[in-house]
């Protein structure tokens, strides 16, 4: 309690003389984290709109058709996670490298470029029909638009590459001149991989099968490949700080986890190659390797719990520890268990492209990536604001937001799973299968429940934001 009280007493310390930051330039992460949270709010608002359109089909039509809302929902997710990863990179790389960031000015300039480009893209989605946006941005010169998650105009994609290069240059120069730790090497490998595999988004052949085949080199090799390296490095960094466990032990865990990630996950890409025109042998390769993909996620759970159990210090930031444990558990459930649920080819034959896929997508993204970014924000934001940890009151609010969002996401996933099972049963398994739309009508009850859980998630998110404004503890 004394450390909490003294931390709270330092709340008004100006950031220029921030005693909590080892390197002043780490503070460039702050706008990145702030933007990430702001875009997260936008993502959830559009999620609620879509959830309602599932049951009230003409809600907001024609102002915001479903495809537009979905594009905004998924693109905001990707962009806010990227802001989170970049903020994490700018925060942890200087500390690991034991030197100031190569160029804080470049980091801030990059921030504004990325934010403005992202905002303009979202405004474009909402302001004009998508075909008009494609025409305005010269999609015909290099057509890359209109593929799931890669809907951004080609010029935005080029902008993303430039932002990534600026970011990677800045961090790589910092690492090269400083101490090289396993955590910083893994983080850099993940971030470079992210940028390199994004380049496949520029390959869009007329041949649909080739298009789909290499589309997964962006999407799968991101979320079930290099992003897990970034996640592992972020989690390891926070665990070193909050548990005080020997770095050698934590870094050994990190290497074992990410080794399993890539050993299972690269060939695991094959679970997307069952039904898109690719040879049938992918059903064997994809099933076998992706069935092992839960292993690294389960190790992530063990890792977080073991390190916290073996902690050699009591860090006053309990909320950050809770997020670290939470991401370990929820990534295993969402990515591991819900992924395995439909990854074997004979099962996937029936579940492919149903609400089962949607249920898995929601919990996996929240559990692995949203939560690891919030782990990092929870740990680093108080330090950037000049205190070791937030006040007890603020942490209690933050922990409430953790539980509300996490439990709501469990229910969203369960309701979508229920809808998915019924969809498979009615539309694909019976002797007299119903049409897609007739099936959807029968699932309305579960979609309403999902929307209710979504509202609870949103309340949790608002509480999360409120936690940043809760002041110090009252004197006892």
């Amino acid at each position: 309690m004394t450390s909490l009280a003294s931390a709270a007493g330092r709340q008004t310390t100006p950031s220029a003389a921030n005693v909590q930051l080892k390197y002043r330039s780490q503070a460039v992460a702050k706008p990145y984290f702030t933007a990430a949270i702001g875009l997260f709010v936008g993502q959830i608002i559009f999620g609620l709109v879509m959830g309602l359109q599932y049951v009230i089909g003409d809600f907001l039509f024609p102002a915001i058709p479903f495809n537009v809302a979905r594009m905004v929902h998924t693109n905001l997710l990707i962009v806010w996670l990227l802001f989170g990863f970049m903020g994490a990179g700018y925060y942890l790389i200087p500390e690991e490298s034991e030197r100031e960031l190569h160029s804080p000015k470049l980091a801030i300039a990059t921030f504004w470029v990325f934010l403005v480009a992202g905002a303009l893209t979202i405004v474009g989605y909402l302001a004009v029909p998508y075909a008009t946006l494609a025409q305005m941005t010269g999609n015909d010169l290099l057509p890359t638009m209109g593929r799931e998650f890669l809907e951004q105009p080609t010029i935005t994609k080029i902008g993303i590459v430039l932002v990534a290069l600026s970011f990677l240059f800045n961090l790589s120069m910092t690492v090269l001149k400083g101490r090289k730790t396993s955590i910083s090497m893994v983080m850099m490998l993940g971030l470079w991989g992210l940028a390199i595999f994004f380049l496949f988004s520029f390959y869009n052949p007329h041949n649909l099968v080739l298009d789909k085949y290499f589309w997964w080199w962006v999407v799968h090799l991101w979320v079930e490949g290099v992003w897990e390296l970034i996640m592992g490095a972020m989690l390891a960094f926070v665990l070193v700080k909050v548990t005080g466990v020997d770095r050698e032990v934590i870094e050994k865990w990190l290497y074992v986890i990410i080794a399993m990630t890539l050993i299972t996950g690269i060939i695991g890409t094959g679970h997307h190659y069952f039904w898109i025109g690719t040879p049938a042998y992918w059903q064997v390769w994809g099933s076998a390797f992706s069935a092992l993909e839960p292993i690294p996620f389960f190790m992530m759970t063990l890792f977080a719990f073991n390190m916290v159990n073996k902690r050699r210090r009591e860090h006053p930031n309990k909320a950050a520890v809770l997020w670290a444990l939470g991401t370990g558990v929820m990534s295993f459930l969402g990515a591991g268990v819900w992924g395995f649920l439909h990854t074997l080819a004979p099962v996937n034959y029936l579940t492919h492209g149903t609400q089962i896929t949607a249920s898995h997508g929601h919990m996996a993204f929240y559990g692995a990536y949203a939560m690891v970014v919030m782990t990092m924000i929870s740990y680093a934001m108080p330090l950037m604001r000049g205190r070791e940890a937030n006040s007890n009151r603020a942490q209690v609010v933050e922990m409430w937001s953790f539980w509300l969002m996490t439990i709501a996401m469990v229910f969203i996933t369960l309701f979508l799973t229920a809808a998915g099972i019924l969809q498979v049963w009615m539309q694909r398994m019976g002797d007299t299968p119903l049409s897609f739309m007739a099936t959807q009508d029968k699932l309305a009850f579960f979609y309403w429940l999902r929307e209710g859980a979504g509202v609870v998630f949103f309340i949790g998110l608002l509480l999360y934001i409120i936690s940043f404004f809760v002041g110090k503890d009252e004197a006892r």
Partner: protein
């Protein structure tokens, strides 16, 4: 973890495993690309189909529909719609949108010309003849 299993052992497994399995993936990809001509219906990939694919993309059809099971789950699978509904129904349907039926899911009208709708249908026909290992399980998609 035991002390005999060191961090550098773990690191070597990581680098070795990553490189080995990525190379294996590249080899499988090479084999797949060799095998595709017999499966991906490229014989029927005409100029018209390419124009249709572009229309499919710039109108963000994937934002509501699935195609070979990939996309959004708000509207029906279109990989086999050519067999399910036939070309004339598809054309009439696209022109008749939105239905305006209260409370029902609405598809926008994309203001396509007759020639463009023909291109789109050609693309859907080409897509429907890709060898998908008998997916979807039935005609309802």
């Amino acid at each position: 973890m035991s002390t005999s299993f060191t961090k550098s052992t773990a690191r070597n497994i990581f680098y070795g495993g990553a490189v080995f399995f990525f190379l294996l993936f590249v080899a499988l990809t090479f084999d797949t690309v060799q095998a595709l001509p017999k499966r991906d219906n490229r014989a029927n990939l005409t100029e018209q189909v390419a124009r249709g694919k572009n229309l499919w993309e710039v109108n963000n059809c994937i934002g509501c529909h699935t195609l070979l099971g990939e996309g959004a789950y708000f509207a029906p699978e279109l990989g086999n719609v050519y067999q399910r509904r036939g070309p004339e129904f598809i054309k009439a349907w696209i022109k008749a949108q939105p239905t305006g039926a209260p409370g029902r899911r609405q598809m926008p009208n994309f203001h396509l010309s007759d020639a463009q709708i023909d291109d789109l249908v050609a693309f859907l026909k080409y897509s429907s003849q890709i060898n998908t290992n008998n997916w979807p399980p039935n005609i309802e998609g």
